[in-house]
Amino acid sequence: MLKRLKILNREELSIEETIRLIQQGDGESEIENQLIQKYIPFIQNTATKVCKRYIRTSDDDEFSIALIAFNEAIHNYSENKGSSFLSFASLVIRRRIIDYIRQEQRKKVSLSIDYVDTDKENMENIAEVKASFKEFEQRRETEYRREEIFHLQEQLAVYGITLAEVSEQSPKHQDARENMLMIAKTIIQNPELKEFLIEKKRLPMKALTKSITMSRKTIERNRKYIITLCIVLMEDYRYLQDYLKEWTS
């Protein structure tokens, strides 16, 4: 009875708090199961997006992979990994499914009836091996990045921003861009400002004008660009961030 009450109470908690509970306690598998159960439609939906075909919960391998990924996300999530748990979980699911699809493709090749053992001959040339390995890495990166970009588009849509608009607002001058980056960093590093952005879906103008010596007009003119930068830096975009690392660090 008491336990049940406890569960009910916990259901009213936000996902982030529930997850913190799960991560803290050991015997909380019941809550974990409940959470997963509740988000099956979300997991299914995300898997469908990545595969670009309908994923059934009953007999698609991709769904099992997505489930495992979601579970992994629950245990790995932390406040500084993305704007929300669901956004983080979505990214983890996407990554895992890409990994799975790649793995399957490789299997298909080796199981082919016409399989000829030509790979070994190629292996002898170290330069070639290196090149093919590099190419493989690049292709994998591209796929990860693509999923991150789709995720970014979805996030921007919540703010009512399209990438076309961002490209029109994007400052041409390098100094101007660096200033905007500085503003974005300020927002993300300050929990209050970050909270404001995620909650209200707009820039905390008042706080910004206080802490930054830049005219309100300049910030407002580059509003969409700054928000985009915030999302890129805030979410768990490993590959996009890696691409921008020279500039952002």
Binding site: T142, R146, E168, L244
Partner: protein
């Protein structure tokens, strides 16, 4: 070359992010996937807002709009604008309107006949140069029976009919037409004023010249009636010829088929018509005779074959026929001559008389006819 990750692909461009945090619209490449890092070339899209804001642009655009407003309208319209008029009076009277390229853009009839003739011709004529249009008109007029021999065709124009405006040399064109039809051309150059005044009355400008003259003399003329009369008739009605009414430089007559016109221009219409009929009758007779001659020629041939056995009767026959022939035959066509020549060559003895008579009776006959005579004589001697 810039490099960037493809973020979005649109219909005409794609959005690329550089590793310096720049989001750029780039030229679309079909072969790349989203997420790929590629070299790209940016596209500059001038935004309207920046154009409005810049004073420099505003002044430039204002100047451009002013230029657009005044300059090109004339150029746009002029190709289809009436540039000149050419009217043709056969007696169906018609008008061709040409544009500055001297292509026909409109064709209209001044009278009933003109409208009938143009009805089936308009579509063919429009867009053609003048020489083609008027040639088509003459062919069509001939088909519909408007064209008789020795017809006068009055072509009046506000343009000077040069090779450029007519489409080919006007003189050569007339010659070509005259090879097919026995028609005379009277080319008249008239002022635009006359064309305009004639247009108001919707009468052929050539006829308008007569009308104006009559009005100056204080004579009332029924315009409607005048429209349907041929210019020759009008000349007769008025007792004046066209070349008296306009300056001689502006009228050119090309009339190789001109028959003898009455000496006195003051002859009455009736009289003139009689003469016309007479002439026509004469002509018909001539044609008949020519036909007969042909038949006789054939007869000769047959007769010749026979006469190898029986000389005398055929000889007589030939005598008679040839007499007649030579008397009437004022303008023998060379073709027929040749035929006869052959016949005579084949049978010299029978043509003996023929040859002699040809020499005696027909002094006017020259050339081949005489030669025939000589040949015949030669044959005679041999015999």
């Amino acid at each position: 070359m810039n490099k960037g990750v493809v973020l979005e692909k649109h219909k005409r461009f794609m959005i690329v992010m550089t590793n310096e945090g720049e989001f750029i619209k780039a030229k679309l490449r079909e072969d790349v996937d989203i997420g790929e890092e590629i070299p790209f070339s940016p596209i500059q899209v001038p935004k309207w807002s920046t154009i409005y804001q810049s004073k420099k642009y505003v002044s430039v655009m204002a100047a451009a709009i002013l230029l657009l407003a005044f300059l090109p309208i004339y150029q746009f319209i002029s190709p289809d604008k009436a540039y000149g008029l050419v009217t043709v009076d056969i007696n169906p009277s018609l008008e061709f309107t040409v544009n500055s390229n001297y292509d026909v853009i409109d064709a209209e009839g001044y009278n009933e006949d003109g409208r009938t003739i143009i009805k089936g011709l308009k579509d063919q004529v429009i867009g053609q140069p003048l020489n083609v249009a008027v040639s088509l008109l003459i062919t069509k007029g001939n088909e519909l029976g408007y064209l008789s021999n020795e017809n006068d065709i009055y072509i009046s124009s506000s343009l000077t009919l040069t090779e450029e405006s007519w489409g080919e040399s006007y003189e050569r064109w007339m010659e070509a037409i005259q090879q097919n039809y026995e028609v005379n051309f009277i080319t008249i150059n008239l002022d635009n004023e006359i064309f305009e005044a004639a247009k108001e009355l919707s009468i052929s400008p050539t006829k308008f010249v007569f009308l104006r003259d009559a009005q100056e003399e204080g004579i009332e003329i029924d315009v409607e009636q005048m429209k349907n009369r041929s210019i020759e008739d009008i000349e007769a009605d008025r007792g004046k010829k066209l070349d008296k009414l306009i300056s001689p430089e502006s009228i050119k007559v090309n009339a190789p088929f001109k028959r003898g016109k009455p000496e006195n221009p003051g002859n009455s219409d009736h009289k003139k018509n009689n003469e016309k009929q007479q002439e026509k009758e004469e002509k018909r007779e001539e044609q008949k005779e020519e036909k007969e001659k042909k038949n006789r020629g054939n007869g000769n041939n047959q007769g010749n074959n026979k006469s190898k056995d029986d000389e005398h009767p055929s000889n007589k026959k030939n005598e008679n026929s040839n007499k007649q022939q030579n008397k009437k035959e004022d303008h023998p066509s060379s073709k027929k001559e040749k035929k006869e020549k052959q016949n005579q060559g084949n049978n010299g003895r029978q043509n003996q008389n023929n040859g002699n008579q040809g020499q005696n009776q027909n002094n006017g006959n020259q050339g081949q006819n005489q030669n025939n005579g000589n040949q015949n004589q030669g044959n005679n001697n041999n015999n």
